[in-house]
Symmetry: C2
Subunit: 547 residues, 2 copies
Amino acid sequence: MTEGKLRIAILGGAGEIGRNMMVLEYEENIIIIDAGIMFPENYMLGIDVVIPDLSYVVERKDRVRAIIVTHGHLDHIGALPYLLEEVKAPLYATPLTRGLIEVKLREHGIRDAEIHTIGPQDVLSFNPFRIEFFRVSHSIPDCVGLAISTPVGMIVHSGDFKFDHSPVDGVRTDFAKLAELGGRGVLLLMSDSTNAETPGYTVSESAIQENFDRVFANAEGRVIVATFASNISRVQQISETALRYGRHVAVVGRSMVNNVKMAQELGYLNVPDGGLIPINEAANLPHRKVALICTGSQGEPTSALVRMSRDEFRSVRIVPGDTVIVSATPIPGNEEMINRTLDNLFRLGANVHYDELLKVHVSGHAGQEEQKLMISLIKPEFFVPIHGEYRHLILHAQLAQQVGIPEDNTIIMESGDVLEIDDDFARIVDRVSRDYVFVDGRGVGDVGEVVLEDRRLLAENGFLVASVTLDRISGKIVAGPEIISRGFVYVRESEELLERARQAVVRVVERGGDRVLLGKRIKDTLTRFAYEEIGRRPVILPVVLEV
Amino acid sequence: MTEGKLRIAILGGAGEIGRNMMVLEYEENIIIIDAGIMFPENYMLGIDVVIPDLSYVVERKDRVRAIIVTHGHLDHIGALPYLLEEVKAPLYATPLTRGLIEVKLREHGIRDAEIHTIGPQDVLSFNPFRIEFFRVSHSIPDCVGLAISTPVGMIVHSGDFKFDHSPVDGVRTDFAKLAELGGRGVLLLMSDSTNAETPGYTVSESAIQENFDRVFANAEGRVIVATFASNISRVQQISETALRYGRHVAVVGRSMVNNVKMAQELGYLNVPDGGLIPINEAANLPHRKVALICTGSQGEPTSALVRMSRDEFRSVRIVPGDTVIVSATPIPGNEEMINRTLDNLFRLGANVHYDELLKVHVSGHAGQEEQKLMISLIKPEFFVPIHGEYRHLILHAQLAQQVGIPEDNTIIMESGDVLEIDDDFARIVDRVSRDYVFVDGRGVGDVGEVVLEDRRLLAENGFLVASVTLDRISGKIVAGPEIISRGFVYVRESEELLERARQAVVRVVERGGDRVLLGKRIKDTLTRFAYEEIGRRPVILPVVLEV
């Protein structure tokens, strides 16, 4: 059985946070694990989301036997619509994950996907792969990790996980199964590195309950809790707390409303009848009878909490006495927007609780000791840290070495790397595309570094267009030049400056010379003009027409 | 003495971090305290720095008796060049602060400023103000707070401070003086709120020494420490540690080199002869004999550390075995750039130590218990928290209430607010401009919200310009239309799309109609075209010329 080799291509999620996607390939058979999006960093101007480069699987689409999804977060399911447009293969997911996938596919108008519901006891066979599942706890219910038997040995994929002994939904990471897998012998563990910087254990979700209790016990007005729309466990926890303190709960924010509805229908959210009420009913209750759960924990400009903080949310106007809990950690890059939101809430007189002041959020990812525990239970021969920025991968690999994995057997893969592995040897043999594929509006992949660089230049100093029409024969100006500009100077107060720019263009044209190079001469003149006048470097574009 | 009223206008630094500036005004006499810049937030596209609106003092410039500077950080001195261009008044500062101011003024070509050196024992009189100083410890040497006797009572301004009992430079916040001021009776305390979210005490600078020792003891290659260019105490600490472990120290990065040179000349940095060496000498020593101190702790794109992390810094190429210490906390908004830098350093094989993993930095600002101690020592009648975002001010005011200041006597001022105070009453009586004044290139204040909004739109989706020349009489097209675009689509791969946009413009023109509205019709057509074709909303500008 060891003659063949297994190839594992990581297409996203290694050396970066998000767009998780992986391909396992043995001879003519491929299975795909997850296909997620990454949220754009601040420098990716105008980009909606980032997905992996799918060309590796598109080129091999006839070999794809299955797409297995570990859980329903967008960084694991968000790229499925793009994948399914190119690759027709059956999807396998737990019920809640399936529900979230279906919502996503509907948004993209995809109605013909073949989706199968799986439970943690199921075993799937796609020759030569045999896939078992194990429960993991995370920050959304119904997560699984994967144990994949292959001709070269067993591959374990942790999924996103932590070892919470008292999670809100009562579903724990399945120690027994992990130990049993470890006993059977595991060739390779690929494990979640997100919190490799965090010492110790991630605090249990139950541990923040006493802080919620304290806040609810002392709140006089409404209690408004912002968290991730996907954090169904937190919604469960807040709802239970609210009901215990005699409050009804209304959910605010489109994505939150949709997720809560679906989680209720599928039985993943259990609130007694009458506990959850529509927001317009909540508006008629005394404030001390109301709790709201809403989106906006990352300071997203159009979210419910941000609109409330700006007093622009019609159905909920924050007043002194209201209490706001922001139950989330900032995703790097969002700090400024979150801080602005917190400040605005304080300005409206709310009592605001957030991570900096009170522990009202716990991570969904394993801390260092849990990462070590996973490795110790699985006892793999090889270890590949996944799901993390580069430093997380290195730190996670160092942890693995601390618990006995030889340094040579811990392999750092980045997105695009292809590992070849047999029963006693593993190495990176290939690098396929790790390019960011940018989604902007309905364009997928058409915006690249050139367009982004132009956006950066435009963002920095705006642009100047000089449009002029010449007589084809004489080269004399017959119309224009007209100077138009945005983002460079305040046009209304800079008429004199722009008029001088116009005259500079006139002088360049009148000076004559090679007509082919006139555009370049106009550009050079205006570039110099802008810098000398005001020290800025706008994008400059000449338009020379002839009649 | 109580017939007159004192007016205190905060022009910057209240409800925001940075651009600290304050005006004290009694009858025809004004003193100014500090004039700093704020670094732009990410959404302030293309802006270099932000300064306070100076018009309040410019309008009253003949009354300005003195400008007092508490310490040499840019958020306290960076706006002085702009202020001095408008207001000719003498400056007062301690020696190191003066040195840093002079560097700044030289950069702006200001050579005629009247600057006086003061020491903490000095007393200045500008009728009716009498100003005493007290030493405070912070993250740069030579900081002072102010005790200002006025006809209505004493005003104490803390400056930026913490109570470090074992600072690197040995200079502690002057408890005795603070207690003595408290004993004399203080009308109003204005105190640094930066760390109002941080419980307890800020750890002493000496406490991180053992971590530096551990890192230096174990380092095999070079040790490279990035910190703020102004953090002279940290430079002192690192230099001493390096020498103890048999390493020479080279300083890298223009601003770091300048500051170190000046601090040495003024006696604020004491390194034995031969301890500090030029970078080119360091290049010839074995790696285990070298320590480097450099800029780049905030991930600034052109800084030494960032260039090293990209392997673009010629004189220092990071190799496995090198150790990097990032001795700073991320300023909100810089996290992405810092994380990218850390990842790149890990990629080059460096051992990287940063705040997340090892305590190698302490804040320069007082934690909650220190803030309370300041209030308890000064025992003011009124309390105004300064230097902080809005939530910090609120939290600081709550601390003041905990130590006995009546709620009515804690006053939240934001930048632009004017306080009127006499010996038993204080209230906000006026609001002057709190506008951000943006510096962009050589333009000061000409870029406002309109230009920024244009830059935001351009950053999001770029622009399309349609330029067409018509026959004035017939309205027929005689040249063009030409479509030019940047940041919208990748022009080289979108010729067909842009050609269809061109044809859409031709059709609009040929359809005829009111010539005055033709521009608007072209704009509407292209807006619809861009959205329907690709789901984007570029800035669209029509240019219609006539011949």
